[in-house]
């Protein structure tokens, strides 16, 4: 567990902790002697560093490192902090705590998962409840379900993001199915809970969030369907039509071919799931985008993906009657 985070290190302080080694360049001084420029980073930011002594030994020991134990002192160079490093040694990936290097949901993962289990228990359709229970009983799956991110960027792009997103959608699904009569509540909720499970394998998120080979080559919709197919085999007498409708929810949850769904929504539940996904990802994504602005701005900067500035300004609702 890291103790020193980059955004808290002051000039003049000694440093001795684990960092990701983002960049490393071997340089040469005018007198011909070598030195090393590096960039170290963790989830709070990055900092430059320089190695003046023992260059050959240090260079060799971190030649293929992704993480290093770094020792030295923080100085100031051209008005920004810089670590003068006295030593760096390799730090195996296995020994890393991802939460030191990856952003994490601000909500409590276990509480959220408990809420999911309660929703599961509330299912009146037996075989749907059994299906979810089969997923939760698969502890390897459940552990990954709790930490997978929902995206590389844009929305819920942090550890626990997929759980947070799926739970929020499931609760929203419950509210909306209560508004309209004749919605298959249980099917819709299961759809919300399982729609993104393919992201467990679409992304890599041990110490940075990125696409996996499988994610780029076959897409989380396809992976999720495969995971569902495997689990369906373990539930006795799961009705064939319901299995098709559930797969359809996963297949169509992006809303149109243009956005990556092989088929568009063709049931009321699928139409709703697509909108619920849209709402939850947009609300989260726009709020994260607003939160990244400095506090006195009335408008965000330009959101390239959504093609507009968003209005932050003085909320009407705050004004008393």
């Amino acid at each position: 567990m890291k103790k020193q985070f980059i955004n808290e290190i002051g000039i003049g302080e000694p440093v001795d902790d684990v960092f990701a080694l983002s960049e490393k360049t071997l340089m040469r001084r005018k007198d011909g002697n070598p030195y090393i420029n590096v960039t170290l980073s963790d989830k709070t930011g990055s900092i430059k560093g320089v190695v003046w002594d023992n260059v050959d030994r240090i260079s060799a020991s971190i030649s293929s490192s992704e993480f290093v134990q770094a020792r030295g002192n923080v100085t100031e160079y051209r008005n920004t902090p810089q670590i003068v490093l006295t030593d760096m040694t390799d730090c195996p990936v296995d020994s890393i705590d991802p939460s030191d290097f990856l952003p994490v949901t601000r909500r409590n993962i276990d509480s959220m998962f408990d809420r999911l289990l309660k929703l599961t228990a509330s299912m009146e359709t037996g075989y749907l409840r059994e299906l979810l229970e089969a997923f939760w009983a698969d502890t390897e799956f459940a552990d990954q379900y709790k930490i997978a991110p929902a995206a590389v960027n844009m929305h819920h792009s942090y550890i626990g993001g997929m759980l947070e997103h799926s739970l929020s959608m499931a609760l929203l699904a419950e509210r909306i199915s209560g508004h309209y009569g004749g919605i298959d509540r249980d099917l819709l909720i299961v759809g919300a809970i399982l729609h993104d499970i393919g992201k467990i394998r679409e992304f890599e998120y041990r110490y940075k969030i990125d696409y996996s080979d499988e994610g780029r080559l076959v897409n989380h919709i396809v992976i999720g369907l495969q995971m569902l197919d495997e689990k369906l085999l373990t539930v006795d007498n799961f009705p064939e039509e319901c299995a098709l409708l559930l797969k359809h929810l996963i297949v169509s949850h992006h809303g149109s071919r243009e956005f990556g769904s092989p088929e568009p929504p063709k049931t009321i539940e699928a139409v709703l799931l697509n909108y619920i996904d849209e709402i939850d990802s947009k609300v989260n994504g726009i709020r994260e985008f607003m939160a990244a602005e400095s506090p006195d701005e009335t408008w965000t900067s330009f959101h390239r993906m959504l093609g507009r500035h968003f209005y932050i300004g003085k909320k009407t609702g705050d004004v008393a009657d």
Copy 2:
């Protein structure tokens, strides 16, 4: 008030009631004598009719009629019913009850409007409540609000459709703003209630639903903004920022320029209102489309606008646990 509706008239029955005169053609028999072929209609369907006698007098009296008082007897011709008409006289448009000729919401208009008034009373933001009260106090407006359709076709295309659609959206807005923290519930609900008021003038719906000149030339978004501007003048000290945010909800509720909104949604409330509008119009539109299919079909016919067939089939939720 009509008593005879076309879908209930049996062969052999006498007819004496008001009908819309959809088509009229003066024909000539082989012997050179004239006769009249007509098509009569009401909200339940249409029927062919023929006038053999007094052709000149009847033809003159209904020369520019949109509605006629028709008398005669139902016979059968080529396996379909046909009225042999003994007389037709003009029936002024003013005397027509639109609900005889227009489809009407299946829900109770007064109950729905009462629900809106209760929502209005629940507003904690005083000036927003006052704004709604100003609208309801304008009885001419309120009367039209109750009967306007929400569309010419596709969804809620019937008398009372805009009220039904707006109320449903307001209640859904309440549910969704309860799910997410930090939403301006009252603003969102007012947006849902007022977003389509321009349709009061965009459409004509006295005895058929069609676009008005104003509707085609300036669009319901623009008309609605003008109606809102006029009403805002009557509320003391309505905060300027809130007025802008409310107008923004109307301006942006179609979601993008491509769909007719001069600006896309730029606040969380505007983003939500657009999705709530999408959800409610799609749920209603798809269900009406499904309902028009014969009961033993598993799939609807092809929905041209949405580019797909919809699945009706044996609902999963019906199956007991």
Copy 3:
């Protein structure tokens, strides 16, 4: 096996064979007596028929029939042939030979399949050859592979169409991989052979070609991947990377999300497979479209899907030097 086909039945001939019952209407004569109008069809066309006698008995016996054994004589009515039917009895779907009612490839199915087996034997990559052999050893699969159509319309929309299309693509893949160095020939050929196997379940083609529920709800790409996943489990030590690359060929063979592929082609083989699919379906589709024109036309009628007329005219190549 039918002996009388509609396009060959002459006026005055007796009729006694199986037909699809496309339409059936109970009519009533002026004297009040009922009669039945029907439309009968097979793969060569359709013909009108009428039942004057034994109306109640016949009507009852075919009340839910899709196929009937029809007996009667061909007469002429308003310049077109019509069968005056003396009897019709139900004909169970199971007893029908689809090739009487469905268009069939003009090429020999068994010869084409033999060619596929030879291609299979030519594979140098052992696990790819074993995978294909596992598919062919699954006789239920192989039987369906031989008869599935490749589409409902547009191209190869006939019994045996998927086999014809896949074989043509595989042979084209062999030619093109010979032109460029460094292509994984075996992988590309297996991709060509398996890319459309999901169509075996996407379509229904017992007596008419249409989408199945599964086809409309989850799409042939998804179905095909599931079939591949099941079969991969039966091949020992199938390399994981190759499995991913093969799935990627199926996932991306439509070329872009807009056309239903969850991911676009990201390997040279996937890029080629998409073009090979495009070429083979367009060459077949355009030629079928040209063949349907009357022989003296220089241009086809307007091809709505492709947005143009095609030029048939006097081929340059025919002109001697």
Copy 4:
């Protein structure tokens, strides 16, 4: 009124004038003493500056300044001019002359406005003339009409740009309505004059050109319609149909929903107004873009918005016969 403009200040000269304070950073020397780096700008460009002495006092006095009175001497640093500042004091926004900081039309604003008044007087349709006169009699409106820009960039993006653009369009409208018979010349000219009035409030242009909150939330088309509605109330007996047609010109002048018009042009005059707007904004925009290139270029750089290079080169018309 500024006397020293940045593009004319020479190395070695003293400086004492008003500048916009574009950037300000508090820095620290190696000896720990603070200094201030600033960027100063006016409509002719920007220049770096540095404060070595009295850093605390100066920093406090300009802590929230947008404009400053700056005193110092121009030196050279790394081959570019830099002001060594001896003092800076806050300069209230109210005291600023926008034309010192904003680009201004190269044409004479009063002459252009006189031309508009003559066009107004030439109107034969009384109520249209009265409407324009009502606008001009509103001196607050008229003053803003004279200085508003037509855009933030792309075309006529300078003080007086909207007037220049609208007048040019009105004169072009006169020419085109003279070419075709049956055009309502007066309506078309009024449409040209009023089509962009919403930009008076859509933009802020006191000392920089940017969007206002209202502009971003409701768009200049909507604002312009509101301004027109208010003014129409002041003209007696303005025909209702003409009011609709005039609003339609404003509503539809962007030509399609995709470009922000809630309705596309549906009258000949509206179709023409859209093209006249297109022509005038493109001719101005492309010429400004060409003018920004160095004089010996044959082609402009790539115009991102219009997706092409434009040809400047040796004009054919220059060549004598």
Copy 5:
């Protein structure tokens, strides 16, 4: 020259004139005897006809006719006129006057062409004037230029349409180049006059307006460039740059690749020519579309290509002040 036009032929009149033979079907009466049903047409409409006698001889003589000399008498059948034909003989295409069968411009072709010659004489750029003179001196070209249509439908789709359209554009170009300074007036006018010359070969318009093989295979832009290239060879010392700019006007006059221009407009003149073409084709097309409506309609029917109804109604300009 035809004397009897279909819209003027009354019941009971004898007929003896040339008609296009649009349809011909050999029928058989209940007694087995043959008769012929035909549809005859000219530019004013079409009429049904029937041949009862001499069926074999007549049938043979018109077996491949496109035009016939028809003789008979007009009767009435099922309330519509029908010609009972006593004879029909083939009428060679060469003997046909196209203006009997094709719609023709309502303006005088020779007057329009004279106006073009005056414009030509007004050119101050010698080599551009010489180029036009070279075109007009080519009498075969000039004769076709006078009669070619500008389109198969949509706008100016009649004999003389291209001349009418090109002249109108040239005069509009003169007005617009007078409005803006610095436009190469002569180049723009020559562009307007020559931009569509490829349509002379793109269409066939001897007795119906349709695409030629060349038109469908290579497009009028390409054909027009080839015609220009040939003519440029005949003008001495035509400057190379001007030739390129003139070709660019033809290449780019559709405005974008999407509309068939290989390159978009890259000079001010090309930008203007595209808008002038747009204006003139839209004004003509919309007016023709409005003119086809019955006189009491306020709105046109839906214009499929342009995606809207157009407003015809009571023109503002008609109302007195």
Copy 6:
């Protein structure tokens, strides 16, 4: 012929060779004395240089140079090599060997051209063979055909690229026409060989690859058609229909208007040529893109134009059975 290439020059070496003068800036030292910063480049890269002495003379002698003879010594400045230049003199463009400054195909140009001649000789359609022979007999054309690039970037963007691309397409065309019966092989091959000849004039490629004025104003499709028209005049009795079909191949080879073809492919040969062009440019472009990545990457960087990363990784085909 250059001997010193930038990527091979070591620190400390003397330099005396020809370089492109990419950038030149006159600077001033603190003591007021001028010096010159330059960037020199050739096909292997670029290097900075500085002139300290004889600044005025050298500056004058290279004032408008594109290429210079440069003399000096390589030193190191801020860890990168820099030439301290003792002299630079102008080097006329005519004396430059483009292959020193432009990338060149890795294949042998003469061998490729020989292969084309063999293909030409294999034509059975006499007039097509004669047409090609007429092109090859035009030595100015043939010389340019051998060296023209196929693009400015994306694919085959090097000297000899068009020849390499056209030959590859012709050979692919031969393979594909052998797969399908009924293709006009000779026509398709001639189309492949000539489809891009307009690029000979569309680009400038003496010492850098860029668009020519003609290329930007009229496009290579139009230029190629003009070149074909000229050459067709030299072949006796070339059939008119074949000429049209050949022009159609050039006109339509981009596949759709959106991609710059005035008409889409309307013959089987044109459909195939478009796909063959797509395949060959994509295979070459993607492989070049992959080759530019560092050897240990599994994925390429993001390909902006094609909107994806490409998979390079461990090829399945490499794995032994």
